[in-house]
C-alpha cells in the first residue's frame, strides 16, 4: 500500500525538480545515440581519420572560403575565421529569426545567407554542398552543450514540436514518444532504439552510405510508421527539430557523428 508519507515525499521531490512532462526523460538520464552503438562504430566516430563525416567537413571548409554568386563574396568575407565566429552557433539552432518571426534551422540560415548576402543559386536540401557547409559549421560546436530553444521567443515553436512528437500518426498509428521515450534500450526488429537525441547532425549513417540531415532522419521515421513525411524545411519539421534540440538541453554536440 502506498503511504500518505510516500505521496507527500514524492510531491515534495516533484516540486523541487525541474518540471518534466509525462514521459519525458530526466536530464541526468539523457544519452546520445553514441551510447547505444557498438565499439566499432564508436571508434569510427572518435577517430577523425576514419570518420567519413570529416570529408564533408573538409569540403565545407573549402566552400566557406570560396567567393560565389553575383555578390562575389565568400562566407568568410562576412564571418571571418569560422573557428571563432561559428563556435557554439549550431548548439543554438534552430534559432528564432526576428525578421521572419519564426525559427530557422542551420540549413535554412545557410540557404538564406546564400540568397541574401551572396546572391548565389539556391542549394537544395540534402545536396552535398549544403551538408558540407552545415557539417563544417556544426563541427565548430563539437563538445558545446546544446542550448537551442532557450530563447523565450522560440517557446511556442518548441511547444508545437512537442505536440507533434507526442501525436500518433501513420497507418501504424505510432508517435515518436512511443519509441524514443517509452522504448529506448529495446530493439525494433533487432536494431537498438535510442532516445532520438539530435546531437550529431549532420551525421554519417552507415545505412545511408552518406552524410544526412536531422530532417532526413525524421522523414525516414515518419515513413517507417507509414505516415506522409513533412516536406524539408516545413514549419512542422523545424518545430520537431527545435523540440528535439530543447529536449537534448545540455548534451554536447558531436558533429559529424557516425550512426549505424
Amino acid at each position: 500500500m502506498i503511504s500518505w508519507r510516500a505521496i507527500a515525499a514524492a510531491t515534495l521531490l516533484a516540486a523541487a525538480a525541474p518540471v518534466l512532462l509525462a514521459g519525458e526523460i530526466p536530464p541526468d538520464a539523457r544519452r546520445s545515440g553514441y551510447a547505444f552503438m557498438g565499439a566499432d562504430t564508436r571508434a569510427m566516430q572518435d577517430d577523425d581519420t576514419s570518420n567519413p563525416g570529416m570529408l564533408f567537413v573538409l569540403d565545407g571548409e573549402a566552400l566557406w572560403a570560396k567567393k560565389i554568386g553575383s555578390a562575389d563574396k565568400a562566407c568568410a568575407d562576412c564571418h571571418g575565421d569560422a573557428q571563432s565566429s561559428m563556435k557554439g552557433v549550431a548548439a543554438r539552432y534552430p534559432a528564432f529569426d526576428k525578421a521572419l518571426g519564426r525559427p530557422v534551422t542551420l540549413d535554412q540560415r545557410i540557404i538564406l545567407c546564400r540568397a541574401n548576402h551572396q546572391q548565389a543559386t539556391p542549394l537544395p536540401y540534402e545536396s552535398r554542398d549544403l551538408l558540407a557547409l552545415s557539417a563544417f559549421i556544426a563541427h565548430q560546436s563539437r563538445g558545446t552543450p546544446i542550448t537551442a530553444g532557450d530563447d523565450p521567443q522560440a517557446k511556442p515553436f518548441v511547444e508545437q514540436g512537442r505536440v507533434l512528437y507526442m501525436q500518433r500518426a501513420g497507418q501504424l498509428n505510432l508517435a515518436c514518444t512511443n519509441c524514443h521515450d517509452d522504448n529506448f534500450d529495446k530493439r525494433l526488429a533487432g536494431a537498438p532504439i535510442t532516445q532520438a537525441q539530435p546531437t550529431g547532425y549532420p551525421l554519417y549513417r552507415l545505412e545511408w552510405q552518406t552524410l544526412g540531415s536531422l530532417e532526413r532522419r525524421l522523414r525516414s521515421c515518419m515513413s517507417g510508421v507509414r505516415a506522409q513525411a513533412y516536406d524539408y524545411g516545413s514549419p512542422e519539421l523545424v518545430a520537431l527539430e527545435l523540440y528535439l534540440m530543447s529536449r537534448a538541453h545540455g548534451l554536447p554536440m558531436e558533429t559529424p557523428a557516425v550512426r549505424p
Binding site: 500518426a169 497507418q171 498509428n173 522504448n183 525494433l188 533487432g190
Partner: protein
C-alpha cells in the same frame, strides 16, 4: 484517380473477441507463419517468437511462444483487428482499420494494414503456437 477507401468486411464483436472468421473460411497456418515473419507485415518489428531462422526480432512486445495457450481464436482475431480494445494505450497497431488515423502515407491511405484473408491466416498460425 484518388485512392478509394477500401471497404472492410463487416464483423461482430462478442464479449472479448470476434468468433466468426472475417472471410467466412478458415485461414492457412503455413501462410500465416510466413506473414508473421515478413518484415512488411510488421509483427516481428516488435515481437519475438519461436522463429529460429531469423535474428531480427523485436522486444517491444511479448514473445509469441505459447500464444495459442493463452488466447482463444476469437480473442486473437479481435487482437489483430483492433488491439486497442484490450488496452486503449497499446502501441500494437490495429491491423483491420482504415479510418480515424492521422497523416497516413499516400500509398497506405484508406487501406487496412492487412487484408481479411491475411488476418485469418495469421490467426490460424497463432492458434498453433502451443508450448
Amino acid at each position: 484517380m484518388p485512392t478509394q477507401a477500401n471497404k472492410l468486411l463487416p464483423y461482430t464483436i462478442i464479449g472479448d473477441g470476434i468468433p466468426v472468421s472475417l472471410t467466412g473460411s478458415p485461414g492457412d497456418a503455413a501462410r500465416g507463419r510466413a506473414l508473421v515473419l515478413a518484415r512488411t507485415t510488421t509483427c516481428i518489428l516488435c515481437h519475438s517468437g519461436p522463429f529460429p531462422e531469423t535474428r531480427f526480432q523485436g522486444d517491444l512486445a511479448p514473445d509469441l511462444t505459447g500464444t495459442g495457450n493463452r488466447w482463444s481464436v476469437s480473442q486473437l482475431r479481435l487482437r489483430l483487428v483492433d488491439a486497442s480494445r484490450f488496452n486503449p494505450d497499446t502501441i500494437m497497431p490495429s491491423y483491420y482499420r482504415n479510418d480515424g488515423l492521422v497523416r497516413v502515407g499516400r500509398n497506405f491511405a484508406g487501406k487496412p494494414i492487412l487484408s481479411a484473408a491475411e488476418i485469418e491466416d495469421i490467426v490460424a498460425f497463432l492458434a498453433t503456437l502451443r508450448d
